[in-house]
């Protein structure tokens, strides 16, 4: 157990070194998208619209935070990993070392979690200025908990896709085919209630939908969708097991 923790720390250590060198760039790149969304949708399109009796800004900030944790954790865990594995082959060196598969997966995922948390925190601070209701919500702690769980879910997904990808294109394809639709459709920018039944069901098969449902409910002090939290955790467990299985299969 102690050994596993030490090995997780070792795997994470290398990524943190890199992060420390580029921390400013990391924060800047993880904030640019959400801030653009905030400006374009929150202030631009959404002015004067209300949802569930809230101003659109109050409504959209939790969604954009959900989105930021997704991209931050996914890319934070996956983008360097797939390059290291496919092109630089330095991931082989970690595979060869006397550390368990579990430690490798956790270490790599934590690198994503930390990126996700950095991005989400920066945005949360900005979001609190725009929409201070969030901190005032009695469910603020639950909000933070969901945030961290989301980071793990998408970090495991990033690790998994980085393990599966056979080329750089695979990584891009996944981003465009799965992440991008999730970005816009998973209840981030609008409520799912108005959508056709089929689409709504389909969207519930995507983890970001549950993440934004939970975050929004917690932020706006609405009835909390516990089933979504369970679904989110289910996604996390599934992605984690996927990582373990695929590493087991590929390594001797």
């Amino acid at each position: 157990m102690i050994n596993a923790l030490r090995d997780i720390h070792t795997v994470l250590w290398a990524d943190l070194r890199v992060l420390r060198r580029h921390w400013l760039r990391t924060i800047a790149t993880s904030l640019i998208n959400p801030i653009l969304y905030l400006l374009a949708f929150g202030y631009g399109l959404g002015r004067g619209i209300t949802f569930w009796g809230y101003s659109y800004l109050d409504f959209v900030v939790p969604g954009i935070i959900a989105l930021t944790t997704m991209t931050g954790s996914f890319n934070g865990a996956g983008s360097k990993l797939h390059v290291d594995r496919l092109f630089y082959k330095c991931f082989d060196e970690i595979l060869m070392a006397p550390v368990s598969i579990f430690s490798i997966v956790m270490g790599k995922a934590l690198a994503g979690v930390i990126r996700g948390i950095i991005g989400a925190t920066a945005l949360l601070l900005a979001g609190l200025m725009i929409s201070p209701k969030i901190a005032a919500s009695p469910m603020f702690l639950l909000f933070l908990l969901v945030l961290i769980i989301s980071c793990f879910v998408f970090a495991f997904l990033g690790v998994l896709i980085a393990f599966i990808a056979k080329s750089h294109q695979d990584m891009n394809t996944f981003s465009n085919l799965i992440l991008l639709p999730m970005t816009f459709l998973s209840g981030t920018f609008f409520a799912l209630e108005g959508l056709p039944e089929i689409l709504r069901i389909a969207l519930h098969l995507l983890p970001l939908t549950h993440s934004s449902l939970c975050l929004r409910a917690a932020a706006l002090n609405q009835p909390f969708p516990w089933y979504s939290l369970i679904a989110l955790i289910g996604f996390g467990v599934a992605f984690f097991l996927g990582c373990i299985l695929i590493l087991k299969k590929t390594s001797v």
């Binding site: 630089y88 082959k89 330095c90 060196e93 595979l95 060869m96 070392a97 390594s251 001797v252």
Partner: protein, 291 residues
């Protein structure tokens, strides 16, 4: 256990197939403790595949291999503890410095902080990288990158070191420095398994050489032994249309006899001692040049 005292690498009918092609086929060889073993073969011969199987990175399709007495399939973690590997391609983390890369390895091998520091300084000095320790990998020349890779692969004091084309792409001086480093390591007790497609490297550096061609081991022995088997003397003849032919003889006198018997349309004749390149060309060229 499969190990006979000083046999540190044993393979038996090792084969690996990638869809249609056999990257290696029925490879059986032994490497002894304390030697520098050279695995010589042209591009695509199966050198890297062999190293990847021996270092537990790839599973064989059939056959078995033992490294340091441990079966690579049954006890991969034991194998990994006793070996160091330098991959064919730069496999260090390019976002980190030399020292950070070494520290990562040392941490992965569970060195305590103080021991880690000591070992890293010692190795930096050993491979002559002390002054470059804090440069990022990407800022180093090819030769220095290779030395950094050697340093990383030595962190945990492996008994066997696998070097996949350690000098490919290096200039003549840098290559010789790498040879010196390899010899020094060997003198310090490390068994070396290296691959190369440079014949002179195999001849200059290796105690024994295995020649691999199209996935099959076609010769195995000391360089001098291989030359003797083929013929210590080479007669090179160039005929009128410019084609060159090689013939090999065990003694200078027989070679001379042969020259006397040659027809008069031969333009040039040269007798010289055979080298490993002749062996290599002779063995790998069979079937290809027969047309």
């Amino acid at each position: 256990m499969k190990k006979v005292d000083n046999e540190v690498i044993v393979t038996e009918e090792l084969s690996k197939r990638y869809s249609e092609i056999w990257a290696i086929k029925d490879l059986s060889l032994r490497v002894f403790s304390g030697e520098i073993f050279g695995f010589l073969g042209p591009n695509g011969a199966g050198k890297t595949t062999t190293i990847r199987i021996l270092t537990t990175l790839t599973k064989p399709t059939s056959g078995c291999a033992w490294v340091n007495g441990f079966n690579v399939l049954e006890k991969p973690e034991k194998v990994r503890e006793s070996i160091g590997v330098m991959q064919q391609h730069l496999s260090l983390d390019r976002d980190l410095t030399v020292r950070e890369n070494m520290e990562l390895r040392a941490r992965l091998h569970h060195f305590e902080a103080s021991e880690r520091k000591r070992r890293i300084e010692e190795l930096l000095d050993y491979v002559g990288l002390s002054e470059y320790a804090d440069r990022s990998i990407e800022m180093l020349s090819g030769g220095l990158q290779r030395r950094a890779m050697v340093a990383c692969s030595l962190i945990h004091k492996p008994k066997i070191l696998f070097l996949d084309e350690p000098t490919v792409g290096l200039d003549a001086h840098t290559r010789r420095r790498m040879w010196d480093l390899i010899r020094r390591l060997n003198a310090d007790g490390v068994t070396i398994f290296l691959t190369t497609h440079y014949i002179e490297e195999a001849e200059a550096l290796c105690h024994r050489v295995g020649i691999i061609h199209l996935g099959q081991l076609i010769a195995l022995g000391e360089p001098s032994e291989l030359r003797r088997k083929m013929g210590l003397y080479t007669v090179v003849t160039v005929v009128e249309n410019g084609n060159t032919f090689y013939k090999y003889f065990s003694g200078r006198d027989i070679a001379t006899e042969y020259i006397k018997s040659l027809p008069s349309n031969v333009k040039a004749i040269l007798v010289r001692e055979s080298n490993l390149e002749d062996v290599f060309i002779e063995l790998t060229g069979r079937g290809v040049s027969e047309d």
